[in-house]
Symmetry: C2
Subunit: 365 residues, 2 copies
């Protein structure tokens, strides 16, 4: 796995059970996954020589993030390395313009969109589709960075950007599917994601009150995207639920924050599923282990010394599951997550929220 | 954790989530846990200098096996190391004569027993309690080794042994409890263990059809032993169910084969629970995640190349969970286990058995 963040770290847990010898390419031995994976190589994912050295002897190469240059992935594939997802698929998670073009071509529901490179072009787009306009960096955006919601042409930040019509959504959903090289596909239940300032703070599984027809439609859309784009491994499809139906927002081709609930909440965690998919093993059951599962992210607060609060959370609720990423606490940084499961959604949600808020702020909700 | 077998290996999984930096003392870098734990130290657990070097900087020291000399554990404690379980407790899992003496003193149900060192003493014991007599090595027995069921004095193998009256049991049960240094205790549901040739092959959770009064009594016995012996960490109590009630067979003070089902089958796995207990953190919920959970051990068969069978098992049953220990296949060696969960015991048991038998022998059950 190229990259040694929390996604690689959490992938080590099922790798241990499956007997998969996981190797990661880290920037430094202090990174989240490097702390828990014996076969950690230090190198630069932007350097083809480092990638080639890293890939030597691997049965498959996959990613913890989308930042490896597309041409390097082509080069690895040309060397005979089994890269999953391949560059032709991954480019759709790297380049939002390529993604919109392809999704439009295969008939997946998208907002109106256009590539723009001047304030005048933004105005022209807004004349057709109205203000506000959502502008996105074509490459490299993450967790709300690289996204601007503009209400006048003067707010155009410059550069070549993807313009999208603002979608008046009711809520945000996510569908996580896996597809293996031999073509097997599975879909997890559709979840609701709750964002604050562009960062996911809470995931509710399954999405409460979602019409079963809409849920099935969301899963069909995600599986069709995975197949048509030739995705191997996981594909997370973020969607808007609107009065007129579903609209695809973003794609990610790796374990995804919206799937952390699967560690306890599904028979096969997304991390195990990703390993099975990229190794072309039969996929595991995505069935839920409880009626409701809620995941809440832990965002670093002002007080870095969380140990006493960690003890409180464990004592307060012996059933809540705490996951730390081995990262120093910095305000707003994702340092971990908590998961609660149960039969009553309100209770499960309150338990997860209490643990997350108390751990990060010391406030008692 | 002193020792780097599969118990330490599986402890790494919750250590990753809890943010606990797990260090192991291994005999060699090829051992099961050494393959997945970055902070692996190589040394000899029988050597006090190695143990002292290993313990330096650890918040707590615990064990993957019972073989560390009791006097070394006393020495570590005298150095100020937080050792859990402490030597005064652990000796009851190391020395079967000490264990029987103490259990008898606290009123835990035991078979008749006596330390013997000659065929004549075995005969005298049998005159009181009947043949056959069960003879056990006082220290060092494991997985059926160091146990003899003798029907005549001529079968006495020599040495100083523990003689026990043969218990005509209906089945074998196990109770897993945890106790933390501040005195919190929890008990997992009582399970049935199925042995073949002295090796556990299958664990059924909860023990099917067990009278609720007997289940509560078994849990009370185990919690009382943990408290009276001052156990910190996990305590597994193996029991016989007989027509006259429960009889304690063996004790172990570490994660135990009879608790592997908890990885998927309980809210808190035994490995997480052991970490929480030895670090004096609040204990986690032992509640089951499904009505029935069955674990079957994978014992190495004649054919070491299990990869195709591994694929079959995953394809045949997407819900079965496979755990490998990173060990080479040798006939009879525990190389992993499988777990199935569900609402119907017969189905769950058949699924686990199919996976275990097919993986190890290629036979289709």
């Amino acid at each position: 796995m190229v990259g040694a963040g929390q996604l690689a770290r959490m992938t080590q847990q099922p790798a241990i059970a499956l007997g998969v010898e996981l190797r990661v390419l880290a920037n430094s031995p202090d990174e989240s996954a490097a702390r828990v994976i014996v076969d950690t190589r230090i190198g630069d994912y932007r350097d083809l020589a480092d990638l080639r050295e890293f890939a030597r002897g691997c049965d498959a190469v996959t990613f913890d993030h989308e930042h490896v240059p597309t041409e390097h992935i082509w080069a690895l594939a040309a060397d005979g390395v089994a890269v999953h997802p391949g560059a032709d698929a991954l480019v759709h998670a790297q380049d939002k313009a390529v993604m919109r073009e392809r999704l439009t071509a295969i008939g997946a529901p998208c907002p109106a969109w256009r590539v723009v490179s001047s304030a005048d072009e933004v105005s022209a787009f807004a004349e057709e589709h109205g203000w506000p306009v959502v502008l996105k960096a074509i490459r490299g955006g993450y967790d709300g960075r690289g996204v601007w919601v503009v209400r006048t042409p003067e707010e155009f930040p410059g550069g070549e950007l993807l313009a999208e019509a603002f979608v008046p959504f009711q809520r945000e959903l996510a569908v996580l599917v896996a597809r293996s090289p031999h073509g097997q596909g599975v879909s997890y239940p559709v979840v609701e994601t709750v964002q604050e300032d562009g960062i996911c703070v809470e995931v509710l599984a399954p999405a409460p009150g979602l019409d079963p027809e809409d849920a099935a439609q969301a899963q069909r859309i995600a599986l069709k995207i995975a197949e048509d784009l030739g995705v191997t491994g996981l594909l997370a499809v973020e969607m808007f639920e609107t009065a007129d139906g579903l609209v695809v927002n973003e794609l990610a081709m790796r374990p995804h924050n919206s799937g952390h609930w699967t560690i306890e909440g599904a028979t096969t965690s997304q991390f195990e599923q990703h390993l099975r998919a990229v190794l072309d093993l039969p996929l595991g059951s995505p069935a839920m282990t409880a009626p409701y599962v809620v995941m809440a992210n832990l965002l670093g607060g002002d007080d870095p010394d969380i140990f006493k609060r960690y003890e409180h959370v464990m004592a307060h609720d012996p059933g809540v599951k705490v996951h730390f990423y081995g990262k120093d606490v910095r305000p707003g940084r994702k340092i971990g997550h908590v998961t609660a499961t149960g039969a009553d959604l309100d209770t499960v949600r309150a338990r997860a929220k209490h643990a997350a808020v108390y751990l990060t702020t010391g406030e008692y909700t």
